[in-house]
Symmetry: C2
């Protein structure tokens, strides 16, 4: 089976690299060209997404946002113009669940399968092939793509039909943002009350407050290591997707809305490029007090 | 060393039972009398807290709230009237960190040690001797009490000086409430978008959204098992403590404040006695939609 990979940024390049390293023939294309290291490894550089779709049986997309996926799929040099029945399109970008269902219908109308499979784990997970992959697909399409997912990730779950992967990713980003905010409020309270936030974090890890965020992001808040990681500006994008979805679905998500406002404040204070654990800065600025000193 | 235990409710009774079972002499007292099972086990029933303080070298308090601790310590028949220098008072109730520091000063002025050691783990943890115990004390007093804590709990941390235990417990309750709210928003979003919340929970457990709350309370939301557990009305008390502390410390804790409002809504809708995982009901009522059906 010939593969395609469109979008070779900090996530896409190492992910495509794992497919090549496993011996797959990979037709690659990216807005800024195919990195020489990938070509050296054996990637076949294609000029357009249309060419990739003509050459490959199954192709992955890994680009920043909903409009980029739309351009890759349906733009002037897009995938749709090169597809023929029986091929499979797998979008691993993190984009709108609503748009995903519309994109899928248009691709399915061409006799092809569409799979949404956003990831969590960032650049580190992409390089280490340890990404969490949340999949929306038919059972049949999932079975076809799963061995390839296993070259790129570790926790691979078929969540439901097309769109369910993106829905799950949005749910993930809601919890991550709100758990960061929760740890921020708790550590700020503890520090201002005169307790050592590091000991508090340690004590809380033994009980119901335990979380991956308390473990990893709590430590970042205490040690002031706000280099990304996952940037505030990307989490702003994800929470906007959540709220756009909430609006369309008729839901009220008060803490998600509030967390986005706090991230806006972080960005306004020069923190758009910092790790999302720096969400605690919005609380600190409001209180004129820090969890810990740098 | 002779021990005392004041407050023999659903938490205190099994905790005192563990001390007796380990062979300690325990002078016991409670507002509603000493349970016959404890007397049968060997507890020495005392009529007042003053008597307990006269008889015991080290005494535990386990009562519902700040005013109850104040009454036990400084009331007409309180501990203070029976203390003599060199004795140790250990308050394991969950109460105000600010009041705790004041209580400690008054007890220390009598030549005694004061230790605050609130717990997490509930009735189940009290019975199983698996409580998480968060301790505020001097190193010396902690070393004296630690072997006794080990008869009642498992994760035992000296967080800092007197008051730090209560501060840590408040931080714990902030995170637990806000993580429940986070899981509620995420699962409600996923369910309304048409995904299976059980599969979403499963997928999220593999990544940064993983938490004890997603594991335990997320499952409760999906299976609609809202029997307590830990009741909404108790968590309301704890969040009020957090906000009282925030006011005194000059902190803004926006999500803690909002979560308390949601718990008020849960209580207004008949849920004061339900498990705190039913916080999701406030979101569900607002959205006229449930994560799952009963």
């Amino acid at each position: 089976m010939k593969l395609g990979f469109i979008g070779l940024g900090i996530m896409g390049a190492p992910m495509a690299g794992h497919l090549i390293a496993a011996g797959h023939e990979v037709f690659a294309q990216s807005r800024s060209g195919v990195p020489p290291t990938l070509v050296d490894a054996g990637a076949i550089a294609s000029k357009t997404a249309t060419q990739v779709a003509q050459s490959a049986d199954l192709m992955f997309i890994m680009v920043p946002d909903t409009p980029h996926v739309e351009e890759v799929l349906f733009g002037e040099h897009g995938i749709a113009k090169g597809l023929s029945p029986g091929k499979t399109v797998v979008d691993m970008s993190s984009i709108s669940p609503i748009a995903t269902k519309q994109f899928a219908q248009r691709i399915q109308a061409l006799g092809c399968d569409y799979v949404d499979a956003p990831v969590s784990g960032g650049e580190v997970g992409a390089k280490a092939a340890s990404l969490t992959i949340m999949v929306g697909a038919t059972e049949e399409a999932f079975a076809r793509v799963k061995p390839l997912f296993e070259l790129m990730g570790k926790n691979i779950t078929l969540v439901g039909d097309v769109g369910a992967g993106q829905t799950c990713k949005v749910a993930n980003q809601i919890i991550v943002a709100l758990n960061i905010e929760a740890v921020g409020e708790a550590l700020l309270f503890a520090a201002k009350a005169g307790a050592d936030p590091a000991r508090v974090r340690q004590a809380l890890m033994g009980g119901f407050a335990a979380s991956r965020i308390l473990e990893v992001h709590g430590e970042r808040m205490i040690k002031r290591t706000f280099n990304p990681g996952f940037r505030i500006e990307l989490h702003q994008k994800d929470l906007k997707l959540a709220l756009e979805g909430a609006g369309a679905l008729g839901l009220s998500l008060p803490h998600t809305a509030s967390a986005l406002q706090m991230m806006n404040s972080c960005a306004a204070n020069g923190g758009a490029q910092l790790d999302h654990s720096s969400l605690v800065r919005a609380l600190e600025i409001a209180a004129n007090f820090q969890v810990a000193q740098a």
